[in-house]
C-alpha cells in the first residue's frame, strides 16, 4: 500500500455552485475513499412547518431548491391534498405537469451547462445556458416568476394558460428544441466530451440497486425506475417513455438526461394538446388531519414528501427526502478508483443539489 494523503475538496470549489465537503483519501492521484460531510446550508425548513400556516408553507417548500422549485411546491401540495382528500381539477393537474416537465428541461439544460463548464468547454456552457434562458422566459410568461413561481397552491394552481399564450408558449418550446439539437449533437459526438466522459465513474446495475441510486443515475445503470410511471398528476394519461442506458458511466448519464430533455418536450406538447378545459382550483376548507406522502420524479430523481397534520392550522411534521441525498452513496462508490482530476466531473454527474439535501 502506498502512502495515503487526505485532500479536502470543497465546500468552496470552482465547479461546485453549492457547498459540499469531501475528504478524499488519495494514493498518488487515485482516490481510494471519499468521506462526505454535509450541513453547510441547513436552513431548518422542515421545522418551519410548525410555525407557518399549512397554506403558506407552499411558499417555503418552493424555496427548498431553486431549480426544481415547482416540483417541491407540487410535492408538498400533493401530500397535503391527499391528507385532506381534495380532488384537484383536471386542468390544474395538467398545468402542473406542464410546469413540472418544463422544470426538467430547465434543470437538465442547467446541468449540461455545468458539465460543459466542468470539463472546460466554455462555449458549450454558454450555449446551454442561453437555451435555459428561453426556458426561464417561458416560465416568466406563464407563471409570473423566473425561478420561484408561486404558481402551485393547495387545491390547484394560481395561473391559467389561455389559448393565445399557449401558442406563444409552444412556439418558444420549438425554439428551445431547435437549439437543443445542436447542443445534444455536440454532447453526443464531440471528441473531447466523449474522451472525457466515456468509461468514467462506472456504476453497475447491482451497485446502483444496492446503494439506492435514483433518477438519471439509476437509469444510466440500466434500472428502468421512474416515479412518473406510477401515474401521479397527469402522467397516468401520458405514458412516459423511461429512458435508460446500460453502461453506467458518465456518458450514459449525460445521454439519459439529453434523451429526457426530448421526452419532456414531447410530454409538454402532448399535455397542451389533451389538456381539458375547466376550473384551475378548488376551494380548500378545514385543516389537514392525518398523514400521507407523495412521490414525484424530479429531474435528479425521486423526491418523497411526507406530511402529518393534527387538525390544526400548523402541520405536525413534514419530511422531504430529496434525490441528491439518495445519490450520495452512489457518488462515493463512483469516486473510488477515480483520478483526482476527474473528481469534479464525477460530482457533477449526479447533478448534486445540496440545498435540497440539507433543506
Amino acid at each position: 500500500m502506498g502512502k495515503r494523503t487526505v485532500m479536502p475538496f470543497g465546500p468552496q470549489h470552482p465547479v461546485l455552485p453549492e457547498p459540499i465537503h469531501l475528504d478524499l483519501v488519495l494514493e498518488d492521484e487515485i482516490v481510494k475513499e471519499a468521506v462526505p460531510s454535509i450541513g453547510f446550508v441547513h436552513r431548518g425548513l422542515e421545522k418551519l412547518v410548525e410555525k407557518k400556516d399549512f397554506m403558506e408553507y407552499v411558499y417555503v417548500a418552493e424555496r427548498i431548491c431553486g431549480i426544481c422549485s415547482f416540483m417541491h411546491g407540487m410535492g408538498y401540495c400533493m401530500a397535503v391534498e391527499q391528507v385532506m382528500g381534495i380532488e384537484v381539477p383536471k386542468r390544474a393537474v395538467f398545468l402542473r405537469t406542464v410546469w413540472a416537465e418544463l422544470s426538467r428541461v430547465h434543470s437538465h439544460l442547467l446541468w449540461m451547462g455545468l458539465m460543459a463548464d466542468a470539463i472546460g468547454f466554455e462555449s458549450l456552457f454558454m450555449h446551454s445556458w442561453r437555451l435555459r434562458e428561453y426556458v426561464l422566459d417561458m416560465f416568466d410568461m406563464t407563471t409570473g416568476g423566473r425561478v420561484i413561481f408561486s404558481a402551485c397552491k393547495i387545491g390547484g394552481v394560481r395561473r391559467d394558460i389561455d389559448a393565445e399564450k399557449m401558442k406563444r408558449f409552444l412556439d418558444a418550446l420549438g425554439k428551445v428544441e431547435d437549439g437543443l439539437h445542436e447542443i445534444a449533437g455536440t454532447f453526443a459526438a464531440d471528441h473531447s466530451i466523449s474522451h472525457r466522459l466515456t468509461g468514467l465513474g462506472v456504476l453497475t446495475k447491482a451497485e446502483a440497486e444496492d446503494l439506492g441510486a435514483l433518477g438519471p443515475v439509476a437509469r444510466a445503470s440500466g434500472i428502468g425506475f421512474d416515479a412518473r410511471t406510477h401515474g401521479y398528476a397527469a402522467y397516468g394519461d401520458l405514458k412516459v417513455n423511461v429512458q435508460t442506458e446500460q453502461s453506467g458511466d458518465c456518458m450514459a448519464r449525460a445521454s439519459v438526461r439529453i434523451r429526457e430533455l426530448y421526452e419532456a418536450i414531447r410530454l409538454i406538447r402532448l399535455c397542451a394538446e389533451i389538456m381539458p378545459d375547466g376550473p384551475t382550483e378548488t376551494k380548500v376548507t378545514g385543516n389537514p388531519n392525518g398523514e400521507s406522502f407523495a412521490r414525484l420524479e424530479q429531474p435528479r430523481g425521486e423526491v418523497l414528501y411526507y406530511v402529518k397534520g393534527g387538525g390544526g392550522k400548523f402541520l405536525e411534521r413534514m419530511r422531504c427526502r430529496t434525490p441528491t441525498f439518495a445519490n450520495l452513496p452512489a457518488l462515493l462508490e463512483m469516486l473510488k478508483g477515480a483520478e483526482l482530476a476527474d473528481v469534479p466531473v464525477l460530482i457533477l454527474t449526479i447533478d448534486p443539489c445540496i440545498s435540497c439535501t440539507e433543506r
Binding site: 462555449s123 416568476g145 459526438a189 466515456t198 453502461s247 445521454s255 426530448y262
Partner: protein, 131 residues
Amino acid sequence: MKGAFVPGCGPDTARAKFMAYLPFLKPVIKSFFKKPATQSYPFAPMPKDDLVRGHVEIDAESCIFCGICARKCPTAAIATDKNEKSWTISRFACIVCSACCEACPKKCLFMKKELTPASEVKTVDVAIKNA
C-alpha cells in the same frame, strides 16, 4: 443530425476524430454573425409579460386598512395602521408572491411587472390615505 444522439465511445481514426469536433462548429459559426443573446438591461427595457410579478403597489385611496393583506402575507412584509391610515411594505421582506393582492377585499393592491430598483439599504414604502 436532427434529434440524433449516439452515445458511446468516440471514434479513433484521425479523420473521425477531426469530424467529431465538427458538431459544435455550426453553432459557433452561426454565433459569429448573430447579435448577442443577452440584453443590455437596464439600458434597454426588458420585454415582460403583464403577468410578471415585479412589485406590489397600492391605491391608498380605496384601502380600508382592514389588515387582511398583512395577515395573509407569508413574510409579514406589510403593516397597516387604521388610525394613521397608513399602509407600509418592507420591500426587502416581500417575496412578491401576490398573496396580498389576491386576498384584498377592496382589490386595491396591484402587482406591477416593473422591478423596484436595487438597493443597499432596507427600504420601507409607506402609503398614506389623504382623505
